[in-house]
Amino acid sequence: MTQLPQSTERKMGLVIDLDTCVGCHACVISCKGWNTENYGAPLSDQDAYGANPSGTFLNRVHSYEVQPEQGHAQLIHFPKSCLHCEDAPCVTVCPTGASYKRVEDGIVLVNESDCIGCGLCAWSCPYGARELDQAEGVMKKCTLCVDRIYNENLPEVDRVPSCVRTCPAGARHFGDLGDPDSDVSKLVADRGGMDLMPEMGTKPVNKYLPPRPKDQVEEQIDILAPLLAPVAEESKGFLGWLDKALDKIPGGAN
């Protein structure tokens, strides 16, 4: 059924801390590792060891440079996967009912046996969260590790999405964003968690915590720096002669 539920009992999702993420891509690898051998069709690779490798991933980490008007540029690592939107356009466009949003926890899933691989859901997603698997011809997306989070065969500590369990920096948090008293909701409230492309009206469940302001980098980095300043502005002796001799060679200095 591709009509969206009016509301969901819970809004399970991720909170991703852009301040903490170190861009190690461990979440990408653990996601691929878990999801290629569990829920649904495997995540195939094409030409994996050749000249032009590509493959299906449910989670990818971008890196962005932000240059403020004044001050130094900042590098921000940016993991991106399905945001399990409340108003998910990928669900309503599906012609077969393969795409659906669960009433009990708000997870957006694909029933792969109904998917015709038309790709329209990927077209409708502004975040690039869905990828058509080239080997299986069906749409793959983040399941929020639906086969881990309720899995009583796993130790309790492992009943979180694989990316969250793996993150060595603690930059990924999992919980119910529909419950204002949950840890993740408090984190979002404390840190000013934000939506990606709010103008698209998708109402993402996943939130991103913006990077904290960095300390100002002083002009003078080290109090010992003045003492380390070059003593001789103009070189003398052999080096002075070498400097002048090199200057005379055509080609110019850089």
């Binding site: 971008h62 008007e69 540029a73 038309c118």
Partner: protein
């Protein structure tokens, strides 16, 4: 967007075919017997051929029948339902015209409306996508409908209507290009809103998530060929509208020459629309490209 041949062929040919079915349903031309058979054969070849072509890009075409189920929410599903309904109703109407020499007017009208509704639902598949600002405009359905009507009028030999419909379609095409070129910029979506970091400074894609390409880049970030877009627009406009108008408005003596000119007008229009559809996909920028520092 990747301009997949299957989708270009589908939208062009089925648009033309359903345009012809629209006029046939209204009794234009009021043909019966063998002549009617030829007209309906052309219309069905175009409409059904286009629909079949559209299944070539599916990952699992054998499950395509499931696409009729979600008409309550999905434009793609509605298109499937409308197309099958139009083809069945117009098939019955065609039986009357070909074998019984009779025009069941009411049935024809219903078939005509369903034919046009099919073209509208096709256009809405693209129009609904907020992720592609160039498609997310009222002018998109206007373009699909006006092209279909102009092509249908040309094919059905509606001599008085065709020049007007061609002129209207041409004007809508120009408006679509003019407004479409501003669409991404005026949508307000940029790398700043995509990352939520825009209020801190200028955001630049520093490193992509992977060294190679991926499905998203192949499907949504098609930049090859965009550099010839302006030339292709001129070629498309001349072939789709200017040349057909000249061909059908030139007074000629003799029925045979007139038919040759009409055929040339149809072929020119068809080629022009194919080029226009190629541009429709190739020039469309999906906002996911922003995450990769591309558009």
């Amino acid at each position: 967007m990747h301009p997949a041949p299957s989708v270009i062929i589908f939208t062009t040919f089925s648009g033309l075919g359903f345009g012809l079915l629209f006029f046939l349903g209204l009794g234009q031309p009021p043909v019966t017997g063998f002549v009617a058979f030829v007209f309906y054969a052309i219309a069905y070849a175009l409409a059904v051929g286009g629909l079949l072509a559209s299944t070539f890009h599916l990952g699992h075409p054998e499950r395509a029948w499931k696409a009729f189920s979600q008409w309550k929410s999905s434009w793609l599903s509605r298109e499937g339902v409308c197309a099958v309904a139009a083809l069945i109703i117009m098939g019955l109407y065609a039986l009357g015209a070909v074998f019984l020499q009779s025009h069941w007017t009411l049935l024809g009208w219903v078939g005509a409306i369903l034919s046009l509704a099919t073209v509208f639902t096709t256009s809405m598949i693209y129009t609904q996508l907020k992720t592609i600002p160039r498609w997310n405009m009222n002018l998109t359905p206007a373009m699909f409908l006006s092209f279909s009507l102009a092509g249908g009028a040309l094919l059905s030999g509606a001599e008085t209507l065709a020049p007007w419909l061609l002129a209207i379609a041409g004007a809508i095409q120009l408006a679509y290009w003019a407004k479409g070129d501003q669409a991404l910029a005026s949508s307000g979506t940029n790398l700043g809103t995509a990352t939520g970091l825009g209020d801190r400074g200028t955001v630049r894609a520093f490193e992509p998530p992977h060294t190679g390409t991926n499905y998203l880049l192949r499907e949504f970030v098609h930049v090859v060929g965009r550099k010839h877009a302006q030339k292709l627009r001129v070629i498309s406009f001349v072939l789709a509208f200017v040349l057909p108008l000249l061909l059908i408005l030139t007074p000629v003596a003799g029925v045979a020459i007139k038919h040759v000119f009409a055929l040339l007008a149809v072929l020119s229009h068809l080629t022009g629309v194919v080029v226009s559809r190629w541009l429709f996909f190739a020039q469309a920028e999906h906002v996911v490209g922003l995450y990769y520092g591309k558009r």
